[in-house]
Amino acid sequence: MKKLLVLLLISSLMLTSGCWDSREIEQRLFVTAIAVDINEEVQEGNVNRLIVTYKYPNINTIGKNSDGGHINFTLSVPASGISQASTAFMGEAPFPFYFKHLKVIIFSKELLEHEELVRHILDELNRSPQINKRARIAVTEGKARDVLKVTAGQEYRTEGGIYQVLRSNKFTNRFTVKSLTDLITDFDVAGVTIVPRISIVSGKFVVSGGCILKNYKFLAWVDQNHNRAINIMNGIIGLENIDTIYNGTLLSYAVTRGYSRKKVTFDDGITVRFDIKLQGYLQGYNISQKNQVYDEKTLEDIENNIEEELEKKILETRKFLDEIGAPLFGVGEHMSKFHPKVWKQVKDNWQEMMPEVKFQLNIDVNIRRTGLTK
């Protein structure tokens, strides 16, 4: 009797699927990028104020049995929120969407003019257990959906070209990589942040420079030179070129690594000392018999020249940031951590105080290698 019961129980296992609601992997659409635009044709009282665009790879083109169709698909729909769009898509998409592989989120500048919409979107993204919090953020001047449509034909890998570019600052300093968590943390800590700018140039996407956001709103664009200065001040130093004019000819210096440290003193107002140390090699100068760099004095001279050039650029950037009222050098965050008592007194009118804060730049450029020639 007992044996029969056991046998019955075991055989019943064959009838159970093992999953509550099993879903095959090819019956899911993996959203890799989302673009959010403002819906211009929206009527008064309609909540669908956004146009949300999803990009997802065509799983059938992956692997040996590729049928050679489109590599990526894009879908756009007016919606009130990012996840809400996925139900709106159910009319056209064959399978449900899945967000765990979301890599890139692109906002349009127009959208960033509306603080309440940005706050809503960020909260929705942050709240969802589905969304990968390391998805990279970028901002575009035109329509965000156009960026996704442009890249749809351009990419040959499912990971996505935009993501590969936006992934890290290891190879460039022309923009500041920002993940969803970074963005939210920046707003929490400083209320101001910088996000890479993505634009379409002759049918291809280009990431360069950044977009400054303040209190969940668009503030200003910055070009790649300003962005580089901001990165260096914050210690984000990847492979980078610095061009300077030395003895009347162009000289390029390649940065390989470096760091930036802050120290705040309060003797006479607030003074911030930045210790910036860069290491790199001489990349190119001028080929001729007399313009040789192979002696200590010349190298030192070149180093000083680069230091001056860098200092000039940083001070320019600082002036620009003070004018638009965006304290992006991380001084406030540094003070809140290392000088909490002073920070408590100044944090409420930090922005007005920012132009009065003295900067003491202590830049140290090292040429470690000069290449194969003298």
Binding site: W20, D21, K100, H101, N126, P129, N132, K133, R134, T158, E159, R167, T181, I184, T185, D188, V189, S336, K337, F338, P340, K341
Partner: protein, 364 residues
């Protein structure tokens, strides 16, 4: 035969660690940061150290009455009726604690893994699996705890490993800058994360070396403090205080913060939760075991294994009472906190004082 009925002190230590660490570890960083900002690690340490005196008291009680278990001691000190009332309170505590753990477990699993599975199914499944463990004898629990202890260490190690690349240790700063008037309420909050250590006192009488047991219990508590601290430090250095204040379960959110190369290996919560499920299992099992053991001693039934099955429906009903996750924490959690206070602090102290007075009198 005799050897098989006892468990080693090391097993008791592991039983303590795996029982205490369960669902509390997920929300602890959030709760501490909400009250004390960056200084949330202070109440974690103090709360843990505060438990030690009560563990010492219970140990003294056992030393005063060697070769007796807690029920016999209690009856001798306070008489059958009064002590049974105590026991019923503790029984209710274990049952509610079980329901609370099962419900939060279900909420987390539903949020991260099984989005469409009904909460009820998740609760029933985990309760039935735990019941299987709880029906065994204490030696089996000890062995399971030793096994799970390794998994727990792996889990913590894994969390540290995946959070290292993006962690910013300066997020810990500033230290000693919080409003220390809130420290007492933070310590009480932290104290509840150490609930469950009482299970060792049901295992106490089965120990094979009763002289050294206290040492192992204190070591176990120190390990728990250590694990809580590690989790607090990595979550804080990864998220910063503002984001932690927002996160319901910062400890699991760590898994959402990882950038892995490649495309399809992205769902790290899966790995973290898989390990964590086992840790919760080893919390529910011993709690259920303790509840059924107390039930057995109140009503003097023969064996405890059918009582486990009797308790399951009660636990299930309590666990589905709260409508949403906010009610779980705010209502069920509040009720539970009173029981924890009585069970962690009240009962050991009362038993200790009673036993001490009784012994003095009988000597005089």
């Amino acid at each position: 035969m005799k050897k098989n009925e006892t468990i080693s002190n090391l097993q008791i230590r592991n039983l303590l660690i795996t029982t205490v660490i369960g669902v509390g570890i997920l929300a602890l960083p959030n709760q501490m940061v909400t009250i004390l900002d960056n200084d949330g690690w202070i109440p974690i340490i103090l709360g843990g150290l505060l438990v030690i005196p009560f563990a010492v008291m219970l140990d003294r009680v056992y030393k005063l009455y060697p070769d007796k278990n807690i029920y016999q001691i209690g009856r001798e000190v306070y008489g059958k009726l009064i002590f049974n009332i105590f026991m019923i309170i503790i029984l209710m505590y274990f049952v509610i604690q079980d329901a609370y753990v099962a419900r939060i477990f279900a909420e987390v699993v539903k949020a991260y893994l099984l989005e469409t599975t009904p909460t009820e199914i998740i609760i029933i499944t985990i309760l039935l699996v735990s019941a299987y463990l709880a029906r065994c004898e204490i030696q089996v629990l000890g062995r399971v705890a030793t096994l799970v202890y390794i998994i727990l260490i792996t889990l913590v190690g894994f969390l540290v490993l995946i959070s290292l690349p993006d962690a910013d240790p300066t997020n810990m700063l500033p230290v000693f800058n919080a409003d220390f008037k809130k420290l007492p309420s933070a310590i009480t909050g932290a104290l509840f994360s150490y609930a469950g250590y009482e299970v060792v006192f049901i295992a106490y009488s089965s120990s094979d070396d009763k002289n050294n047991i206290l040492k192992y219990i204190i070591r176990g508590l120190l390990v728990v403090i250590g694990i809580y601290l590690i989790v607090f430090v990595i979550t804080l250095s990864l998220f910063g205080i503002d984001q932690i204040k927002r996160e319901l379960w910062p400890t699991i959110a760590i898994a959402n913060e990882v950038d892995l190369p490649g495309y399809f290996l992205e769902n790290l919560e899966g790995i973290v939760l898989a390990l964590w499920v086992v840790v919760v299992y080893s919390t529910l099992g011993p709690l259920l075991f303790a509840a059924s053991r107390i039930f057995l001693n109140i009503f003097t039934t023969k064996s405890h294994d059918f009582i486990v099955l009797l308790l399951i429906p009660i636990i299930y009903v309590i666990s589905i009472l709260p409508v949403n996750v906010v009610e779980v924490y705010e209502k069920l959690g509040k009720v539970l906190n009173y029981f924890i206070a009585v069970s962690i602090i009240g009962i050991p102290a009362i038993l200790f004082i009673g036993a001490l007075v009784k012994k003095r009198r009988s000597k005089a």
